[in-house]
Subunit: 503 residues, 2 copies
């Protein structure tokens, strides 16, 4: 049947099918967004099954033999455009990967992670890992099965990390982290031996509504299109997207800590600008999707740190902030503010960590996940392992599970292999920001004036518009002239902190 | 295949299939809720296609031949429980009805009503029926075809009204409305000849947040479970439900009119209490669904009017309201308040109409729909017909289409046969409330103390827990000892207004 049809007709059929799958997938994303923002507590169980059914449909359609036939035939046609060929090749790759998981397994995983998410919520609020343990163990067992079904070389963790970052392996991550760890450890040690900077001004009372208003102003100025997205509150800030015209971010406000709201807004807006910049005409097709998690994170971390914790950025924003919170900030000079918001040291919470210690948080989770998946660590032993690693890497004592192994949502969602992309994102982010400034020397000056349109234009041009056309490394090569070179990140960081701590 | 399986296995298969269909249907309901509350404006087009894809899946599954075979076989089995038999029989009925419409017709109707909805929006904002005429005519033509496909006795309108109110016919509606019209007309005429009551205190400035807070207090006290539902704001108040543990209502706040928020909260909570009271174990099955639109409306109207506009209710609530809005209400006595909130007269807008004139709005639409569907009135003549009827029934001059035949959304959605259920709901509501008070003489006294738990318990017992097991008339018979008797509603109304207007 397929063989007699024109490539044009076949491609249209492919596009229609993919876009219907996207409709179901994004409907599920709406239900998930609602789950994290507005779902009444007793609605959790039914929401779980509704999400499971949608996942099942999407998975069934994505793995239909007839789709496989269509993709295989289209992939062999030579009269498609370059973009069309790329879409088809990537879809075929996805198809082949998905085909390895049975519908029953997909449904089980969805139901299990939905339950474990709610167990995590409860456990976290009760500050007790015990309440999460059993559900988490169920998730881990399924993720091990998943790795076996997907297949891998050398290490089962490779199968999981590959889902978030194509081509990334334990070998590669071990290499990168081993390069980055000694200089960061050295920097952290030197900072510890030094007089600490003062950030107490961040820990005064900042009323909720005023924080919200300031955050909204930041987001708007960064170029977030509020007609194509919105911000809400949630326990754990995140970005989700149902198409490039409906991109949603969330934040969390702590009235005794101004930093939560501020840098989560900037971070999530970094993600959101990427989503709003994806090509609309490729809705539901690979070229309409983000390149990889590390590239996604490069966008958020670039805005959060390279921009949002820079002197240039606060040259414009600090007077505005001071005017909004005069009683809290009138005695704090711009330089004190800049140093305070970059205060570095050992800390307990990843999402609140500074740019240096952050990567130790990631390394600890990475090591832990590898051990869980290879079976050298059991779920039962997570708290002890966690606390020991925090003592050894960061020299801190973990007082309880809430500030320890219960702090992140990822495992409850079944996202093993996700954390490493956070660090990769920082590394790519630093390299991209440097390239952007080198290629357009107006960027830094503009940021000082509160204008980020030229930076956004550069990112749109070099990253956003390409969707998933290229891998992380290909994008990096095209945008910066070379693949990931960890030295850019290290230079940026050492320069910055040598200055802040007067080394 | 089906023949060799046990009834138990077949029933499980049936239940699983229906619950998966429910998952998709309720996922669509979440997307619709979001569309009316939080959707960013540019997201509308993609949301439209996401909703269309979900509807298509649900319709396809609901009309699958294999489901028909399963239902037919199960329906012939004699070893099912009574509830199981009822579920299967109702599902088979639904299947048979749905099956009469081809997928092509369903798609055409969906596309046509989607276009006519947008035409209605435009026409309404331009205040010109002409802009809606052509699209509405397309809808009417399709609804006529639909009536033919569905089949009917005597009048094609019967086929349409049956979709909202099983068993309801033109004969029955004509009889009910002919009974209710003369006494209501007489009452309205007498009220017109009388000194009008004063409700100007409702039209002062009532700040948004304080209105919201008062509404939330009302809702909570009525027994709405906020752990199994929530309230948000929307342009037009509505209730939606994704299962009995996640029921959502919305309200609208007009700072210059206290009545919108208050009675929309009470009305929607009436709907919501019904949904929260449906049996959870029948999720996705007929016995887990509401009985009919008129019974749904009986719940909202009972709470809104029989309870929420009664002296007993405000005996408890008025002091609380006065304390919340002292500057607005300190000079208004409880009796003035009671009379003001029951002010009656001819009006142009159905949703703002009082308990007496409301039914003329419904009768006008009912007569008009009947004439359109039987072909004795053409779409072109709607405005003239409408304006003449408003002059004749209510004695008011319709100044423009926006406040005339363009005011309601229903026709643009293709909902012909829906309006009569609004009046039936009021009639059933009055009869049910009377029966409740007769059977439990603590109810009225409790309401005076702000306690409605005993009323809710009665409704749960006699209406909510039965789901769709019985028709409107069967439920009414069981709960009140007789089928619908319009005299109960008329006595209630005449008593109330004779007192308010001192006849």
């Amino acid at each position: 049947m397929v063989l007699t049809k024109s490539s044009k007709d076949l491609y249209t059929e492919y596009k229609d099918r993919m876009q219907k799958i996207a409709d179901v997938k994004y409907a599920a994303a709406v239900l998930q967004w609602d789950q994290e923002t507005y779902l009444p507590v007793k609605g959790a169980a039914f929401r779980g099954r509704q999400l499971a059914s949608l996942s099942e449909i999407a998975h069934e359609w994505l793995t239909a033999g007839s789709l496989g036939d269509l993709l295989t035939e289209l992939n062999a046609r030579s009269d498609l455009s370059g973009d069309q060929q790329r879409n088809v090749a990537l879809s075929l790759e996805d198809y082949t990967k998905q085909k390895k998981f049975s519908p029953a397994f997909v449904r089980l995983l969805s139901e299990t992670t939905s339950r474990s998410f709610h167990a995590w919520i409860k456990a976290r609020s009760a500050n007790s890992f015990t309440l999460f343990k059993e559900d988490l163990d169920n998730v881990v067992q399924l993720k091990k099965q998943e790795a076996e079904m997907a297949g891998y070389e050398q290490h089962p963790y490779n199968a999981l990390v590959d889902q978030f970052e194509k081509g990334c392996t334990v070998t590669l991550l071990d290499k990168v982290f081993s390069q980055v760890r000694p200089p960061l450890q050295d920097l952290l040690d030197r900072i510890r031996a030094q007089q600490q900077v003062d950030d107490s001004f961040l820990h005064q009372f900042y009323p909720k509504q005023q924080q919200w208003d300031f955050g909204m102003e930041l987001i708007r100025q960064m170029g977030f299109d509020f007609e194509a997205g919105r911000q809400d509150l949630s326990e754990h800030p995140f970005t989700t997207s149902f198409n490039n015209k409906d991109v949603r971010i969330t934040t969390r406000i702590d009235e005794m800590d101004f930093s939560h709201m501020t840098w989560s807004c900037i971070h999530e807006t970094g993600h959101a600008l990427y989503e709003q910049g994806l090509p609309e005409e490729y809705y539901g097709l690979p070229l309409g999707e983000y390149a990889s998690l590390s590239i996604h994170e490069s966008q958020s971390r670039l805005w959060e740190n390279n921009v949002g914790r820079s002197r240039a950025w606060w040259q414009h924003w600090y007077p505005i902030l001071q005017a909004a919170f005069p009683s809290q900030l009138k005695e704090v000079s711009p330089e004190q503010f800049y140093k305070g918001i970059n205060k570095t040291g050992a800390s307990l919470i990843r999402t609140e960590a500074d740019e240096v210690s952050y990567h130790f948080h990631v390394m600890i989770r990475y090591e832990l996940e590898k051990s869980l998946i290879e079976g050298s660590l059991s779920v039962h032993d997570i708290p002890a392992y966690w606390n020991q690693q925090y003592a050894s890497y960061l020299g801190v004592t973990v007082p309880d599970d809430k500030r320890g192994c219960l702090q992140d949502v990822h495992w409850s969602h079944g996202s093993f292999g996700y954390f490493p992309t956070y660090s990769l994102g920082s590394f790519y982010g630093a390299q991209l920001f440097l390239a952007a400034k080198n290629q357009d020397n107006t960027i830094e000056k503009s940021i000082e004036k509160g204008e980020t349109a030229s930076l956004l234009a550069w990112l749109r041009q070099h990253i956003h518009r390409h969707g998933r056309c290229y891998t992380s490394e290909e994008l990096c090569q095209q945008a910066t002239g070379q693949t990931l070179d960890i030295q850019h990140f290290l230079h940026y960081l050492l320069d910055k902190y040598n200055n802040i701590y007067n080394f």
